[in-house]
Symmetry: D2
Subunit: 299 residues, 4 copies
């Protein structure tokens, strides 16, 4: 099983060894696209895909994602980075340069509901979510056997209001040790402290089991049942210090009807939760998302 | 144009002259379905479609919609009604018997945004919404020419907080005069008083331009934009005295993205508003909805 | 892992020990519903859910699914079956009586693409697909380790045009030995002979990776790419002797665009294939499907 | 009514007076984006939106749509066009430059089914389809009164296999006279000759009432009913000389079930046909579509 995944990932890395991506945020002004595309031409890179968005063409914010193929990229990484800095400085850009064959490393946090974890591992096994998943952390032990059957280390860290600081310290140490790039809260039912959130700023992806901003907080399916809604939803968002208020990445819904009791809403909800979370994780993993204030630009 | 609609409706009435429907609400207990189906057999009626729902098979509420074909129905209406009363009394039912060829009469209320009105008239012209629409009332005159081009009387009744009571009195008089069965608020931007609501209890259908309970109240698209949602929605519900809190009939959504400004959300919203409202109106018109507390059973 | 599933299933069986279902097909004539509902009342059974459909109220085919709760059902199974026979004979019904706590037993057939198998096992683990899965058969060995990690026996039976008869004989023997009720072809890339099909008539569920009847046969994604479609689809159907022509159970689609190459269509297709197949399997498992000619009635 | 539309369009033209769009097709090679973005910078134009696609970054076809805001555009049109020619020649581009405030002129062809025509006029009235519609042509007179109520000239040209050449000559003369840019076949049930098609090459948009390539040809709903599909669809495509085989622009579907007879499929189909056609028409009208072989790139 693990061998298959490793084999698929090795093939992916070989196929993308010349592939890079740049994400840019800056004030909009004429000449940005020209400067970036000239830079790429000068480095013999061919643009594969390019998206841009401006909040307001006259003096707004400018966002760009550009994917390129650059022959011999592996030997030119440092040079590319150095040369782009000049442009970035000129336009006062916030920017990131990604090399596609350097897979991101994700840690999954989970509690007792395992459907989102299972979906992530299903897509990972399929080779449709191409990231490294070197660590699963849980405040319960339910997922242990399942996670370990994939050869992934599982760490049980009991967590509650009382021991939050201590548990998080242990978690952060593990994330550091395993060199984790981003954290997926796959129905992890604990609140994170500002300290934890700031350590992984814009790199913690949560799934909330409602169509936000409806049903912020606890027990959204019970409240959806009470209200008699005809659609239930799920929302994936970056975690901030305001509960369920972080930048929304993706949402989706599923039709329900009067026959559906709370248990049925949960059952239908599991289907939509897992598909929404996995889409958000894939987009983050493919460098498609730029956070802007409390919103996301998803290219 | 009008001749065509009249012709289609006459054909529909002829085709459904033996068609009836019963809607039932009562306490669940064994024997209800048997009693109702025996009643129909005794009257030589064949069941065409039948749906039932019980909130809890052990001592909950029971709901049923049954559609039947009864030869010679036009001459047996009174007798059917009389005979069913015995069963209804026995099971302490709330019930309604409808004769499908007796078309319902709907009045449409509209303000300045005309897309929902247009959709209703489009489906009405198509012959896909088979009801009589003898009256449109508006607090503005924008729709006058359009409505009258269909041969439908248009009455302009200016309405505001200040003259609400007086305007409603005039409206209620017209609804009475035109023998109206139900009212459709097709983006009618005025609040109705409890007096008006109780006069047409469970017969006023509104469209709210958000995915309730998100964005209750004014300017939902502006607030959806602020929050950065990835889906916008619309909700059709029966009007009660709690603003945007009435029993939900139908909801739907449309995908949007970071490029969509408030104006784009409104533009996309118009598409989903009109399809949601017209579905709710059709279901009401086909006696598919039973209100139960603050929820709807939609058969 | 397995213990959890067993525990969930035991709880389910306990909760449904008084629950039964009847599926009926017969010529439509007055009195069927009355007779069936009287039968249930006479046996102190309460109707939980009931659906019916008639192809033509005047002399068409009549279909019914009725779910009921009958106190002490476990001790009254034989009697119920005996007593219903009288009604069935009277109306010349084809019928089946199911006891919900007697879980169906499914065998999964798979080849090298494992996403559909994974989805089925994911929903099974969740407790959302409540069936026994005592056997997986494959013409390749790729799934062996994965299947066995769930404690499910995996049998590798090489199959090709050449050894089809012999391989099927071995398969049929296993299906018999494991007392299998229905077979799920979860991307099993072999054609079945009429002998095999007739042995499990209307109990073999396949997933075809296109929106049938578009792209019948091999390589549907390649052909979808060639045609430049904007939606790809998947279709789950009962297997008959006409390739991809059996009664359709469920279909769904996913939006694609000009950027999507054949590989992207396949990747998107995997998502829709697995959700369509699992819905079809659940409906079959819940006795919701009646086959009528080359179509399905799905209640 | 007409005054309102004119007012909305005047406002739109004023708002977009500096807005231009370029559509490009050429062989992919490094430097294209750089050249185009430099050209725009040199003319003080700011890029508002830009999309590109390459069939294969190594030697494939390159497609681009770029929308820009250029101060004083009205006085610089000729100069812009002249200066861009140099770049176009250098890269051997096929290209078009559009000035957004110059509204396109569409003619609608219709037969007896009016729902698509009604949807187009509904969106046009809303101000959500911003084009001029100076002409409706029909082989029947059913739509006459409706079309003229919008102040749009309606021309009845009887058409059949027998008089096709003659009817088309009259149609082409009218299209020329009214200076028509593109033709919408809104359920126009006549086949066009190669002569007509080549006169409006890639500017004739049809709606087919099935999910192509399923049910090519006549009576798709009857055949969908026969096959027992669970989804019906509609497809909008450019007209070529191969019936229902032209480049697909947009498709969508709607769920149906076993209860739906052919008439119900048609009724549901009308909803999806009109939404699919209007999306295709809007995209064409906004210069979002590039035809490439028998496919479309939709930006």
């Amino acid at each position: 099983m693990i061998n298959n995944i490793v084999k698929k990932q090795e093939k992916y890395k070989e196929n993308t060894k010349n592939r890079g991506r740049i994400l840019i945020t800056c004030e909009d002004r004429p000449g940005i696209v020209a400067a970036v595309s000239e830079f790429l031409t000068d480095h013999e890179a061919n643009i594969i895909d390019s998206s841009q968005y401006s909040t307001n063409p006259e003096g707004g914010k400018f966002f760009m994602r550009i994917e390129f193929e650059c022959p011999g990229l592996q030997d030119r990484k440092a040079q590319l980075e150095r040369d782009f800095k000049a442009i970035a400085t000129n336009f006062q850009m916030e920017w990131k340069l990604f090399f596609v064959s350097e897979l991101k490393r994700a840690a999954i946090f989970v509690s007792k509901e395992l459907h989102c974890l299972r979906e992530l591992l299903l897509e990972w096994e399929n080779g449709d979510l191409v990231a490294e998943i070197p660590l699963v952390i849980s405040n319960h032990s339910d997922a242990k056997e399942y996670v370990e059957s994939f050869g992934i280390p599982f760490v049980h860290i009991p967590a509650s209001k009382e021991n939050r600081a201590q548990a998080e310290q242990q978690q952060l140490q593990l994330l550091d040790e395993y060199n984790i790039d981003f954290v997926v809260l796959a129905r992890y039912m604990q609140i994170l402290t500002p300290n934890f959130v700031s350590s992984f700023n814009q790199n913690i992806i949560n799934i909330h089991h409602s169509f936000l901003p409806a049903f912020v907080g606890a027990k959204p399916y019970d409240r959806a049942f009470e209200r008699g809604v005809k659609l239930i939803g799920a929302t994936s968002h970056y975690v901030t210090n305001d509960l369920d208020e972080g930048p929304i990445i993706e949402q989706d819904i599923k039709r329900v009807n009067h026959r559906d009791q709370v248990e049925d809403l949960k059952k239908n909800g599991r289907i939509v939760e897992r598909s929404v979370l996995v889409r958000a994780v894939k987009w983050h993993n493919e460098d498609r998302i730029i956070v802007h204030g409390n919103k996301t630009v998803v290219f």
